[in-house]
């Protein structure tokens, strides 16, 4: 019954993937660009399996059907919830499988043709362990002809052709990664990671809402949606008014201040990271580096964040210029795609 594998002689599909805690995005050389929430759900029992008519669901679809599913969020703080050693719990094994299924789904979303070679570069967190990276490679290898990993912030900078004297701030859900580029591959000393990122903003916003909006009921998902729609720091002319249920009755609340405060938790660690990476850089190039700060990742969509960081840099470092990348969701994937494109043929062949 097994179908014969087609000969791969019709072309080469490059895929760039950004495997993130909150979202996994792909950009491919066939023009496909897709993003999926990094969530995987398996039917809880035979009844739900029959009802859903699927063995596994991903992203938004999984979220919508979550009551019938056993849900997994396989990445935490930017890395797989997986140790790879003898102490693997059942939960870790299940998370590993979820991660593998998620990578497979991301590659399927890129819609590769069976008769084309598929070469994929995955932007992996700089802090991921060796076992973690091996697991990602293994998962991807089942679906592609050749695969490579590279550091996420590096791929963002490479995608924009900013290879020298640039500082990338990649604000994800689990971590905020800062990486300075100076024309070579970044080393450990060139990278800083903080665990204060999108999820930390969500947690703080939820805490502030529950504290100030008497009787309001709110779930993690509701908070995430509110943040994605209204997040800002600094000054705003618009009030943030949301409707939340109070004992079953939709009630309006003004959460402008709560939103400002929650989003502002990102500024201090970012400033600390910028300070560390600039102050330890070659003094001749420090000014240039300060004026080439790239803001990327989902967190960079917070309105006013670039201005707020610039203002803080002015106070602490005497100035600086922050540029927000045009496509925060696809910045990493686009960069990974460019790396895949630029990689020589013999390198791909050797990694097959």
């Amino acid at each position: 019954m097994e179908a014969v594998a087609p000969e791969k002689d019709h072309g080469v599909l490059y895929i760039g993937m950004d495997l993130g805690t909150s979202r996994t995005s792909v950009s491919a050389s066939n023009g496909v660009r897709e993003t999926v929430y990094s969530m995987v759900g398996y039917p809880k029992d035979v009844v739900s399996k029959k009802l859903l008519k699927k063995d596994v669901l991903f992203g938004k679809e999984a979220l919508e059907k979550r009551l019938s599913l056993k849900m997994y969020k396989p990445l935490e703080k930017g890395v797989l919830k997986y140790s790879g050693d003898g102490s693997m719990t059942e939960e870790m094994k299940a998370n590993l499988k979820a991660a593998q299924d998620l990578i497979g789904e991301a590659i399927r979303l890129a819609r590769p043709r069976k008769d084309e070679l598929v070469y994929c570069v995955i932007g992996a967190p700089a802090e991921a362990s060796m076992k973690n990276k091996e697991a990602i490679i293994e998962a991807a290898r089942a679906h592609v002809d050749s695969v490579m990993l590279c550091s996420e912030p590096f791929s963002v900078a490479y995608g924009l052709d900013w290879l020298e004297d640039v500082l990338v701030i990649d604000i994800g859900a689990g971590t905020t990664d800062l990486c300075r580029m100076h024309g070579t591959m970044p080393e450990d000393a060139d990278q800083v990671m903080y665990e204060i990122a999108g999820d930390a903003v969500d947690a703080e916003l939820k805490r502030l809402i529950l504290q100030s909006c008497t009787g309001a009921q709110v779930s993690d998902l509701m908070v995430k949606e509110i943040k994605e729609r209204y997040s800002f720091v600094g000054d705003t002319s618009e009030r943030v008014v949301v409707e939340l249920p109070v004992s079953g009755k939709p009630t309006q609340f003004d959460i402008t201040e709560q939103m400002r405060k929650a989003c502002s938790v990102l500024i201090d660690p970012i400033l600390e990271g910028i300070y560390r990476l600039i102050s330890t850089f070659d003094p001749e190039f420090q000014v240039r580096l300060k004026n080439r700060v790239l803001l990327a990742g989902g967190g960079s969509m917070i309105r006013g964040l670039d201005t707020a960081i610039e203002r803080a840099m002015k106070e602490r470092l005497g100035g600086g210029k922050v540029i927000r990348i045009e496509e925060p969701i696809y910045g990493g994937a686009n960069g990974a795609l460019k790396i895949a494109h630029d990689m020589p043929e013999e390198f791909w062949e050797k990694l097959k």
Partner: protein
């Protein structure tokens, strides 16, 4: 466009056209139809292509683009044919899987039936089966003792009774042995059958799962073609070529180590 190209295009249009009968059109309520000849369609396509190209290109460039467009059209057509073929193959696979499932279901039902029969046989009352045998043995013993008695040496009814008891006891003992052997044999058979049924059930589940997968593939996505026909790599004239080459090499080396490939 040359004669051969025109014919190829004509063939292509014919292949994507569908046939219908006048009756069928009437049934759909169509009273009159406008007819457009294939040559006219080809001429219109040619004219449209040339008009479009004329507004954008001149001379040799236009011819080259026209040729490339034609080649791409034919390639797309072939791809479409491939897709159709693949779809048919998947449908065949699905039918075959369905047939396998049906066959397995029949086999499973047959095995279950055989097992039930076997179990029923095993539960039949043994007394009825052996009653006849006991009577035959008793008759033979009676004949024997009668003969002995007639011979005059052996005596009484009491003796006959005792001999009968003795023999029935002996036969009963033998029978019990034979019965336990028979039961052991039957248990083995039942066990084998149960194992076969279990195996068949598993096989049926696997095939049904595969069938579901094939059924889910009915809207097969054959993907989208990449814009690249061959592996690219850095171009020599690219900005920061040397630096990018070094970076690519560094990423590659790191991945060779990570994937434990010999250097």
């Amino acid at each position: 466009m040359g004669g051969t190209d025109r014919n190829t295009l004509k063939d292509a249009v014919r292949r994507i056209a569908f046939r219908t009968s006048l009756d069928s059109l009437k049934k759909q309520g169509v009273e009159q139809v406008s007819v457009l000849g294939i040559d006219r369609i080809i001429a219109l396509i040619e004219e449209a292509v040339h008009r479009s190209l004329k507004s954008r290109f001149v001379g040799i460039e236009r011819d080259a683009v026209a040729d490339a467009t034609k080649a791409e059209f034919l390639r797309l057509l072939r791809t479409n044919e491939d897709l159709q073929r693949q779809k048919t193959e998947v449908e065949k696979l699905r039918d075959r899987a369905q047939e396998e499932v049906d066959q397995m279901r029949r086999e499973l039902s047959h095995q279950q039936h055989a097992l039930a029969e076997r179990l029923q046989q095993g539960s039949l009352p043994d007394t009825s089966r052996y009653a006849g045998e006991d009577a035959a043995i008793a008759a033979k013993v009676k004949d024997l003792v009668g003969a002995l008695f007639r011979a005059g040496d052996v005596g009484s009814a009491e003796l006959q009774e005792r001999v009968l008891e003795l023999i029935i006891d002996t036969v009963g003992h033998e029978r019990r042995n034979a019965e336990s052997a028979r039961r052991a044999l039957r248990d083995r058979e039942v066990e084998n059958m149960q194992r076969r049924i279990e195996k068949l059930t598993q096989s049926l589940e696997t095939t049904e799962h595969r069938l579901r997968q094939v059924a889910a593939m009915k809207d097969i996505d054959d993907g989208i073609s990449s814009i690249y026909r061959e592996v690219q790599g850095l171009g020599g004239g690219e900005e920061s070529y040397g630096k990018k080459k070094e970076l690519m090499s560094a990423i590659f080396q790191a991945n060779m180590r990570l994937q434990k490939k010999p250097q």
